[in-house]
């Protein structure tokens, strides 16, 4: 369905000395430096998969998506989507794909939503009957009825994103790229949007590639994640596996009467680490569930301090990912992670 082979993208950037002097100097004497945005990545995605593509800002996510959609031509390597090379057959490939790009609207700004859909119908040459059915269904699932008559520019962000999502799926594309579809939305809208994406995936077997910073999106929508950092893939595999592999790290938050006096109990030294906690009364301990049990940590703490309250944090995908990023920065554990992927 989607195959990516040894995909690379390099940009040439003008190197500038700081300040006005530097700016003037660069007018006459330009020095370029090469930025390796994507450094030779490989993956395959089958029809009907829902894949979370995650990474920190500037990790190379958007660049990859631009190459998958055909907007950017890679420096080297190859992409095929449905047997087509997107950047060579951009318009042909466009028939089979849909996309939501964060806050860049694909609807027509001045005209009512319904008219926007009508134009998209003509752009994608959707048969009338199919179009009517699709719109009727989306209207119900996403509750669009009250919005259809309003010009796009008058919609709130959440309303716009619902309409936007419907537009991306309108021509029943085989693949949909969602670049941060839930950014800046309230929880109610997020839930609705996740439900919609899942439903489309189940109903039509739409392949979904999703980038997001909201790990809840990933947990609810995706069965697989690809983590990219610094232009290389750190992890590619199932959501469950990564939890098992890296989810042994537990965190417990304790509420202490007197935080000032806190020192790590002797029995826990070498077993648990103190995490920075902003709150004045709280102490957070992190430890490996394999080597030390939660009950032991708790009883040690309770024997030494007066504990007002405690809270065991779930092993969230978020903490796992954060850990992976940190390891990458340190460099040390990198190989181990890659070997597991």
């Amino acid at each position: 369905m989607i195959t990516v082979e040894n995909l690379k993208k390099e940009y040439k950037l003008v190197k500038r000395d700081p300040g006005l002097k530097g700016a003037i100097k660069s007018l006459f004497n330009r020095k370029y430096e090469t930025k390796h945005a994507v450094k030779g990545i490989n993956f395959t995605i089958e029809q009907g998969e829902t894949v979370g593509y995650i990474g920190a800002n500037g990790a190379g996510k958007s660049t990859t998506i631009k190459m998958l959609t055909g907007i950017l031509t890679p420096t080297s390597g190859k992409v095929t989507v449905n047997g087509l090379v997107p950047y060579e057959n951009r318009q042909k490939n466009a028939v089979n794909i849909g996309a939501v790009f964060g806050q860049r609207t694909q609807l027509f700004w001045d005209i009512p939503v319904r008219e926007s859909y009508n134009l998209l119908k003509h752009i994608y040459e959707i048969p009338e009957q199919e179009y009517q059915e699709t719109v009727a269904m989306f209207t119900e699932v996403l509750n669009l009825e009250p919005l259809l008559g309003i010009p796009v520019r008058q919609l709130s962000l959440g309303q716009k994103m619902r309409c936007e999502l419907a537009a991306a799926f309108l021509h029943r594309p085989k693949v949909v790229y969602l670049d941060e579809p839930t950014i800046g939305l309230d929880i109610a809208v997020k839930v609705k949007i996740r439900k919609f994406i899942k439903e489309m995936n189940q109903r039509w077997g739409t392949t979904v590639l999703l980038t997001t910073h909201d790990m809840q999106d990933i947990e609810e929508i995706c069965d697989r994640i690809i983590i990219i950092d610094g232009g290389t893939i750190l992890y590619d595999g199932g959501l469950e596996q990564i939890k098992k592999q890296f989810g042994q790290q537990r965190v417990i938050h304790f509420e202490l009467a007197d935080k000032e006096k806190f020192v790590l109990p002797a029995a826990l030294i070498g077993q648990a680490a103190v995490l920075p906690n902003e709150e004045e009364t709280k102490v957070s301990l992190s430890f490996d569930h394999e080597s030390v049990k939660s009950s032991f940590v708790i009883s040690e703490m309770m024997s030494m301090y007066e504990i007002g309250d405690l809270n065991i944090a779930d092993p969230k995908i978020e903490t796992i990912v954060e850990e992976l990023y940190n390891k990458q920065e340190k460099g040390g554990e990198h190989e181990k992670v890659l070997a597991n992927s």
């Binding site: 040439k12 959609t69 466009a94 790009f101 009508n118 040459e125």
Partner: protein, 263 residues
């Protein structure tokens, strides 16, 4: 081709709906362009109140040249005005990316995205000027002449479009080339007067480098015997086609460059 005609019609319909919804904006737009044009014609009129001819050209002959330019420009302004906005509306905010993943020609999409109301003012004024000037010219008008006039006006419009497209395309490399497009466009004012009144260098420039000469003076010269350019004027449609082909080829190059660098 049929598909694009139909698609354009669908785009145009929704633009017209918006225009009708904002009737006041529409009327103000049309009126302001007409006022602007009247002002510059009035200026020419004042000049001619004091002298009879400029370099052998009478007031109505100059008005005729003016009329062709204004009508030709209206084609550009009504249908292709969005080319102005390529840099700041499409490339800078990343909106072009959106168009690139649709199954239509991106240039078509950019052009179809707007139907400019002010252009209608330009069209009305152009037709009024032509209507005033033509009866005063020493010409017999038959079907052939009218057909020729229409061809000339369309060619004039296409040259305006091609030149704008060519310079707007620079936006692919420099994000927004609007200042260049604007500077070049202002040269078209020169072409609204007989090119014979200018120095040879300017004449050559407006004929061979930035061919605005073909937007007004040459097409008009076809109908005015004494101009001495009656035959040369026949090249106008050819010039229009060549300009469009060149500009479109350049646009495609720009698009390719954009695909390798991104915004």
């Amino acid at each position: 081709m049929r598909r694009y005609t139909k698609l354009y019609w669908e785009f145009a319909k929704s633009h017209m709906k918006v225009m009708m919804e904002y009737r006041i904006d529409f009327l103000i737009g049309v009126a302001s362009v007409m006022l602007e044009q009247f002002a510059s014609i009035f200026f020419v009129k004042v000049v001619f109140d004091h002298i009879e001819q400029i370099n052998g050209w009478s007031f109505y002959e100059i008005l005729f040249i003016y009329g062709i330019a204004a009508t030709g420009r209206s084609i550009h302004q009504i249908f292709f005005d969005n080319l102005w906005t390529l840099g700041w509306q499409y490339i800078r905010p990343g909106k072009l990316d959106r168009l690139l993943i649709r199954p239509v020609n991106p240039l078509f999409h950019v052009v179809a995205d707007r139907l400019h109301q002010d252009g209608f003012g330009q069209l009305i004024i152009g037709l009024i000027i032509l209507g005033t000037a033509i009866p005063q010219l020493d010409l017999v008008w038959g079907a052939a002449e009218i057909a020729m006039l229409v061809i000339m006006i369309i060619s004039s419009g296409l040259i305006f479009v091609a030149i704008n497209l060519f310079f707007a395309t620079f936006s692919f490399w420099m994000i927004d080339s609007l200042p260049i497009v604007w500077a070049v466009f202002n040269l078209s004012d020169f072409a609204r007067y007989p090119l014979t009144i200018y120095h040879k260098g300017i004449r050559m420039f407006l004929t061979w480098i930035i061919p605005y000469g073909f937007t007004a003076f040459y097409p008009a010269a076809y109908f005015i015997d004494k101009s001495g350019y009656k035959e040369f004027a026949l090249w106008t449609p050819v010039a229009a086609i060549v300009c469009c082909v060149l500009a479109y080829a350049f646009w495609n190059r720009g698009l390719k460059a954009f695909a390798s660098t991104g915004s």
